[in-house]
Symmetry: C2
Subunit: 265 residues, 2 copies
């Protein structure tokens, strides 16, 4: 069967959250997943079943004739997964922000990165918007990965080399991992104080939605920015029973009070 | 004209973000704003014009026959605004989380609180969901404020006394003010590193939306939770040029690593 250029046969290496969501996006865009390679037989088998394909556990079983081998595993597993992998002539990419592309140089002469700047969960019902940052060591890798990104991501496709990807990753950690940690601490605090965390949902949504309309700097509110010492003191009294959150409260309030650089207030 | 019980004549005291948004919500629910009392003649005049009513600057000009006097001013302005205000027999409420209801005891025998647990901005085009926490010192204040809340807030109406409101406020500061501060620092970091902050929008939305589906504790990801020292070290190198964010990065990463209480991971 003759495939159009941007309908690819892809081997998915990994079976976690990123593999699951990217695989679904790829399939929805007309590409085929021809194999799932995963150390976890359970999750790899489930993805393979979902996609009507096969799961393999040993790199010697990897299909030799796919268009692309997408390595969607944890950062620190990329080295181990690729150690004995040889796919000369093939395009191989990983999805990690903080890992240089050249970690794949021993696998193939055409390697690159396909970094989805989004928090992906296997159980997602609706697939979210995913900005994709691609890179490649040569035209073959670059072109294929960029076209694949365009096929799943509308206009949100960018190029980013190792250094820029690492810088993006720092920003992503701040706005996602750290924000989520604040939600974790708030949920725990609510549980202990007998407050229904769900009452905070509309506020959480509004705070996040607003970044699209107005710079966060212009909407900073709360006792710290107005240096409302009486309210801060009363908050700290309540937080005596929550030392971990109290420590965060002090650090972030101090940072807010200190302003935000030369244009801060 | 005979009004149904829950169509109230309201004097709005204050002309900032909370006054503007609550006033619009009240009007959309069929209530009338009969006066806007505000020290800022510009913003009070604009709200009065928007609502087809009059703005007054002196408490002696306050209409004596409204059903409700809603004090929507900054926490630390409530004392000054109400110092010489006497409205015996009337229901008077403020909107502040961290201020006890009894601060209004000198104004009237029927006082209370109408606390909207939401971040409100005067320029909002669409009015967001607003959970409302009401309190009153007697049945007259409690009933009127609760009915008003029900008229604008669907099912999201709760009772909260001074102590519970203060506890809610702590949680609101954590999930909104602190989250927004992370966005401020990330935006500043992106500007300096020549990254387009808008590329992070989908990630910010997803992180916030997900709290509705799954506990934040179960979706904590990132280098800190997996104790990925190599990635953290590279992030800290990049953050050498961003000392304020670097400090936050260290504190929050340490907190994530420390786990989140007895059920943490």
């Amino acid at each position: 069967m003759h495939k159009r250029r941007y309908e690819l046969n892809i081997v998915m290496i990994g079976s976690g959250n990123v593999a699951a969501v990217l695989g679904r996006k790829f399939r929805a865009a007309g590409h085929s997943i021809v194999q799932v390679y995963g150390r976890n037989a359970g999750t790899a088998g489930r993805l393979a079943a979902e996609w009507g394909t096969v799961a393999v556990q040993d790199h010697s079983q990897l299909s030799p004739d796919a268009d692309l081998y997408m390595i969607a595993v944890a950062d620190d597993a990329i080295g181990e997964v690729t150690r004995e992998m040889k796919l000369p002539g093939k395009v191989v990419a990983h999805t990690a922000a903080a890992v240089p592309a050249a970690v794949l140089a021993g696998v193939t002469g055409h390697y690159g990165v396909f970094y989805p700047l989004q928090s992906l969960r296997s159980e997602m019902k609706q697939l979210p918007d995913i900005p994709v940052f691609t890179d490649g060591n040569d035209d073959m890798a670059r072109d294929l990965l960029e076209q694949l990104a365009r096929s799943i991501s509308g206009g949100k496709v960018y190029h980013a080399g190792d250094e820029e990807r690492l810088k993006l990753h720092v920003a992503a950690v701040v706005v996602s991992n750290f924000t989520n940690h604040l939600f974790v601490l708030a949920e725990e605090y609510c549980r202990k104080e007998n407050i229904d965390f769900r009452q905070l949902w509309p506020l959480i949504q509004e705070t996040a939605s607003r970044v699209r309309d107005i710079s966060p700097r212009q909407v900073q509110t709360g006792p710290a920015i107005r240096n409302d010492k009486a309210t801060i003191r009363r908050h700290l009294e309540i937080l005596e029973k929550h030392p971990q959150l109290r420590n965060i409260y002090l650090t972030l309030s101090e940072s807010i009070r200190a302003g935000n650089g030369p244009a801060g207030n």
